[in-house]
Symmetry: C2
Subunit: 585 residues, 2 copies
């Protein structure tokens, strides 16, 4: 035993990994001592390494190690990395506990190492998309993973195990073969942004406690107005907890703009209002009508063509019908990117009709808004600049981590006028800074999560050119899948023609149905194909893709591309996998 030479500890370059790797065998440990400053925690060791029975030529110095176990008569030493013994530690050993700093760093580092491995595993095609278990299996507890909560605390080791299991039994939404939802993919910079946001743990209601984030929101919103084609300083907007809430804002403002007395007097003071939206539009418009006291029956569904696009002449007809019934047409929702087909309504024609009838035109571009970042594809949204409000979810096509949705309003001041309640405890007019930056009274919320930083950081990281590349790639992927399927006779496309967005809808026709004539019987059997394949793919965990029936159409698959990691080979795999899982049906 000797003491450590006079070298300052901070000059050493290595800190032990919090992870546990297999032990290293050392022979002839000729130095074996303690770090002066931190002797109890950081033994050091010196010797020649043995691996595969071979001894290293030169001695190794290992610092900050624990678990030094002499074996073979003390001639060999088995050395593991420094282990923080989390099994004897509890959350009260972490900060703000006095001297909890080191424990806190070790614990969070251990968590992060796990997360980094998960991130890498998510992108690795050798891994499954999910490890499916039924609800009752997870509830009963699997291999020591218990969801139950008790009165007594668990130690930190157990928490780490729980974290690992939570990831293990979850779904890798960043996996290149996860096609199940409009929001897929895992953006590393966005993730860093979300980690920082969580650490800052603040609230968007005032500049006072979120100075940087409030300004970032302002700057990003201005960028979004520009992309739409609005004049930045004349428009308004706010980030909300999702597309449905953003759509709620749009109807709320439309109603307030036309009938400001509704805020104080309620709907009782108003005539019967009706809203128009297409058959293919998102169900949130109906949900909003129910919430706002308008009623779902007062949402008039406008017919769509075979591509799922609203038919303007039918809109016109429905408006006239509503007027004849004595209702007041208030609002038209045009969709830029329907959920299932990815259809874009004819925005210019709808804008013309809205102007003619003085209706509020909203564009639900929750899904399709991303096209505005692409010079190649943005013209598909021509007419959006004529909308009075727009919903745009960067958490969909731009792959900003969930949640990130914006409601954008062409007229400044409306959001504030419609929603403000002037709470004295938050929005004091006698603050010492410019209080117009206290945007919290524009919202229908009070506290509001910081959804902006991850998007801001991603924009810094990619620039518009990076987002453009991304969007173009999603659409190329959709084109590629379309081009494969249209030439195969074991697949049928739900609608003809190239995809405008990144949705591709199709049936897989197993051999048993191939020669069956179109009939009710065939439909009945075809209807069962997608759910059965879906069940198998979830059990096997190789891919995930959604399906649904639609109107008269029996269950079909909808593939959507919004994951940067997806390559052509993944699309080939998807097609092959569907065939593999379904050819016996």
């Amino acid at each position: 035993m000797e003491s450590w030479p006079s070298v300052n500890r901070s000059q050493f370059l290595f800190s032990p990994s919090a992870g546990r790797t297999s032990p290293l065998i050392l022979e002839e440990a000729f130095y074996f001592g303690m770090d002066r400053e931190n002797s109890a925690r950081n033994p050091n060791c010196f010797g020649k390494a043995i691996s595969d029975g071979k001894k290293s030529r030169d001695p190794l110095c290992l610092k900050n190690v624990q678990n030094i176990i002499p074996n073979k008569n003390g001639q060999q030493y088995e050395i593991g990395p420094k282990k923080t013994d989390f099994s004897t530690m509890f959350s009260h050993d972490l900060l703000p506990q006095k001297n909890g700093e080191e424990n806190t760093k070790h614990f969070l580092s251990e968590v992060v190492e796990m997360l980094l491995n998960y991130v890498c595993a998510s992108f690795d095609r050798k891994n499954k998309v999910l490890d499916f278990h039924h609800p009752h299996q997870l509830k009963e507890g699997i291999e020591g993973f218990s969801l139950d909560l008790s009165d007594e605390p668990e130690n930190l080791d157990q928490l780490l195990v729980d974290c690992r299991d939570t990831l293990k039994y979850g779904v890798k939404t960043g996996h290149p073969r996860f096609f199940n939802q409009l929001s897929t993919g895992l953006d590393v910079v966005g993730l860093a942004g979300e980690w920082l946001t969580a650490t800052a743990n603040t609230n968007m209601f005032t500049f006072e406690i979120a100075p940087v984030f409030i300004l970032m929101e302002d700057i990003l919103l201005n960028k979004m107005y520009e992309k739409i084609g609005w004049i930045a300083n004349e428009a308004d907007g706010i980030f909300s907890p999702g597309g449905t809430i953003s759509n709620l804002y749009s109807v709320l403002i439309a109603r307030y703009k036309r009938f400001p007395e509704v805020k104080t007097k309620g709907m009782a003071s108003l005539p019967t209002l009706v809203l128009f939206t297409s058959e293919h539009s998102h169900y949130s418009i109906k949900k909003v009508a129910a919430i706002l006291g308008i009623g779902t029956e007062n949402v008039i569904l406008v017919k769509c063509n075979e591509r799922g696009k609203m038919i303007p002449s039918d809109l016109m007809l429905k408006i006239l019908e509503a007027k004849e019934k004595g209702c007041i047409p208030l609002y038209v929702n045009a969709t830029a990117g329907t959920t299932v087909y990815g259809a874009i309504d004819p925005l210019t024609e709808i804008a013309d009709i809205c102007e003619e009838h003085q209706l509020w035109m909203h564009v639900d571009a929750a899904w399709g808004g991303g096209l505005l970042m692409s010079q190649k594809h943005s013209e598909k949204l021509t007419g959006i600049e004529r909308a009075k409000s727009v919903t745009w979810n960067p958490h969909k096509m731009l792959s900003v981590p969930l949640q990130c949705s914006a409601i954008l309003v062409r007229e400044k001041g409306l959001l504030q006028a419609c929603n403000q309640m002037c709470a004295g405890y938050l929005f004091q007019p006698d603050k010492h800074y410019e209080v117009s930056y206290d945007t919290g009274d524009k919202t229908i919320q009070c506290g509001r999560h910081v959804d902006i930083f991850k998007f801001w950081l991603m924009w810094k990281a990619k620039g518009t050119v990076g987002f453009e590349e991304k969007i173009n790639k999603h659409l190329e992927n959709a084109d590629y899948l379309y081009s494969i399927l249209k030439d195969r006779n074991d697949f049928e496309l739900v609608f003809e023609g190239k995809p405008e967005l990144s949705n591709v809808c199709f049936w897989y026709i197993p051999p048993s149905l191939k020669d069956l004539p179109k009939s009710q019987e065939r439909n009945k059997r075809l209807n069962q194909v997608a759910p059965k394949i879906k069940a198998r793919m979830m059990e096997e965990g190789t891919i995930m893709i959604g399906y649904q029936p639609y109107g008269d159409l029996v269950n079909f698959f909808r593939c959507v591309f919004s994951n940067q990691a997806t390559r052509r080979s993944d699309i080939d795999f998807l097609v092959d996998e569907i065939v593999r899982l379904g050819s016996d049906l």
Copy 2:
């Protein structure tokens, strides 16, 4: 130059820190080679260290280092830690880029190191709570920190600088001396939970893509029902993006329960509904009335006593008045923990009145719900079990990271009936698992952020006993501040008596006002004291505490305790600091 001995790389214990420390001087580097597997990136080095001019007795082995610069005729080597040169890297060098794994790990590790330092700094009383800058200063850019976004991407080094500056110019809401909001403090386990949530990046709409989180929500909600005193299997609930949205749910369900036709036909089919809430209650009830088409005028404010508690006899009176006017009393919001005073309405008496008049009783326990976790204090909420719905924000008193709010409903099935729209693309009835776990159709949202995991993990970590300790401590802190202030003659309490919750409201009376008789003039001057002190404390950054006027009362401070890190010495500091900043006013 020699090759590395045949030791498997993964057996080595040290990985380089991503941080940059000062270089280490080595002499007589007798081994200088490359790692076989990763030769380009991971040079290794061997030699004797020199520090303070003294040479180490034994040679050191340094692995994975870069910046090996020979000096003194090649006899000495200056060695820095491995540096990833982020200034030449961009987001497209990260995953899913081929071979982006290592870059991704290095980049995220660098971010995490920054975050860990921030976490530790947040708890360190030597640091300021904030480094205040006015909006225009931040907008113009400070020392290279520009919020502007461009078309071209920035390199990763710039992103790291931006992250650092974002934290630097923000507010440390976890600081032991941040008393500004109901949500304060930074829980390390909650933070780990939020980091994991961000990494999993999924959505709460279906079991399909959030199997573990959906079940955790179910389990946690059951725990919350129990704490309220409801029967778990008969109750219902859901996590929402905040207290205002949770309160919105309560009115929405109350309206639907009594008039289910409102969902389809809207408010036009209904008589004039009125809601009751106290003068001191949160402004969200009015906000909700505006949104739901009920109208703010139909929110009847019930008088409060001097402690801010609703006066039941006034509630009774107002209900009768409303009935006389032909309105339909629908709903009473009782507050358990008002925003400013922390008052708890007399729940039992309100429950009696609601039963008598068949009104929906909601308890807004967004702030005070935490008391239910404390055996010592939960009796203050006696009567809450008689409510039909309860709002409870674990992100407030329980310090779960933002956002975490729940709406709890005593009757099962109402949430679903009120809100469901049965979207075919999400809620397919022919799924292969038990679809009752697809809770997404209960919400007013579509996509929904995972707010549950951090809370679940914290519960695992603390158990109810840990939460109880926490709550008790907050109330002890409030007691302590109260006991100091009541004995001082340079402070005046806004209301007499011990705090029931952790709010303490007070005026500071500077010497210049001390001998002034109560008068309009004194009020006018006293009104300016709190804003001026607040401005100074923000400029200096030493503490943060909120102020507001209330009714006839001029600006006073409201101190709230919800931060586990706050100690008595911080409360002493708060009092001293207010005197220091305000004694010349």
